[in-house]
Assembly symmetry: C2
Homo-oligomer: 192 residues x 2
């Protein structure tokens, strides 16, 4: 199934924001980067806004208070809105722990696909890709999502990627299928 | 000439950032809005980032220190970069008083057209569209460009709009002609 999907030729029918949310180390960026690469290979207009890009270019000076986090998510939403309404697939990978901030972006943008990248806090702490959970446990970081700040799960996400049970490849296929079902991607199967 | 230009059918050949810089009340926003309207009428993908849009959506919390102004201009430049490389005409209207910040955006974006909207400080103070010069003279605003903060003129702008001598309509035609000469717009004259 994976192979046949990868032989598909995709077209983007209209601009869209594809928003990956989940705990730190849940696996958001891996799936988001794979999606970006695949869409780009298909000559689809795509931009990936991930944590580093955002902190450097949009949100320098913002911290991790609820107010600053909300400002950060709104700002990313504004940029996605500009991109999506001009026919671009804007991909975001951001913890974005607060439900209301994500929902507010959905209302603003309209063409908004929410991908919940799910893994238990225990599993994420075990992975601890950037060593941040350890720092939070040691008290070196305050207000860290999953340690001493809440993560509010999406109530009705468009896709759930369960990264404790699925490979990144399987998650990517789920996302692609959903984008197709929702009418953002159209595919033609090509002979291999 | 104006009329014949307005009968032209324009196409955008590639994404571009069209950056209007000049003193407060120099007339940037008027020309920028007219340009936006005209391009949109021609079904060209266009976004206008003017002062209000920027302050609300990108730069809340930034002040008027040199550091904050530079951060603001860089941030706008980043968004324009994303838009322009996806085929959009990104129009900016911002005082953007520091030469190095503007030049840094030109280097980042590449497809960058700098429009210097020129009027004397005296004339701008006389117009004082938002009443800000008066506030600055009364000491209610500190670091106001043209009063107690410098404006660094572009050394080699792509267009100079002299709003003390030209009508907004004449300035718009100069901008359109330059965009055409630079290869961003192509036009077909249509029968009237």
């Amino acid at each position: 199934m994976t192979d046949s999907k990868h032989a598909a030729k995709y077209k983007l029918t209209r601009g869209v924001t594809i928003w990956f949310t989940g705990l730190p180390s849940s696996g958001k960026s891996t799936i988001a980067r794979n999606l970006e690469r695949l869409l780009r290979q298909q000559e689809i207009k795509v931009e990936l806004l991930d944590g580093d890009v955002i902190r450097t270019n949009l949100s320098r000076g913002l911290g991790f208070s609820k107010e600053d986090r909300d400002a950060n998510i709104k700002r990313i939403g504004f940029v996605c809105h500009l991109l999506a309404r001009n026919g671009v697939a804007a991909i975001v990978s951001a913890v974005s722990p607060y439900r209301e901030a994500r929902d507010s972006n959905r209302r603003l943008i309209g063409s908004f696909v929410e991908i919940y990248v799910r893994a238990s806090v225990e599993k994420c702490q075990e992975r601890d890709v950037k060593g941040l959970y350890q720092k939070a446990k040691d008290g070196l970081i305050k207000g860290f999502t999953g340690v001493d700040d809440p993560y509010e799960e999406p109530l009705d996400p468009d896709v759930v990627c369960d990264t404790e049970r699925e490979s990144p490849e399987e998650s990517l296929v789920k996302v692609l299928n959903r984008l197709e079902t929702l009418g953002y991607l159209s595919s033609e199967e090509t002979a291999k």
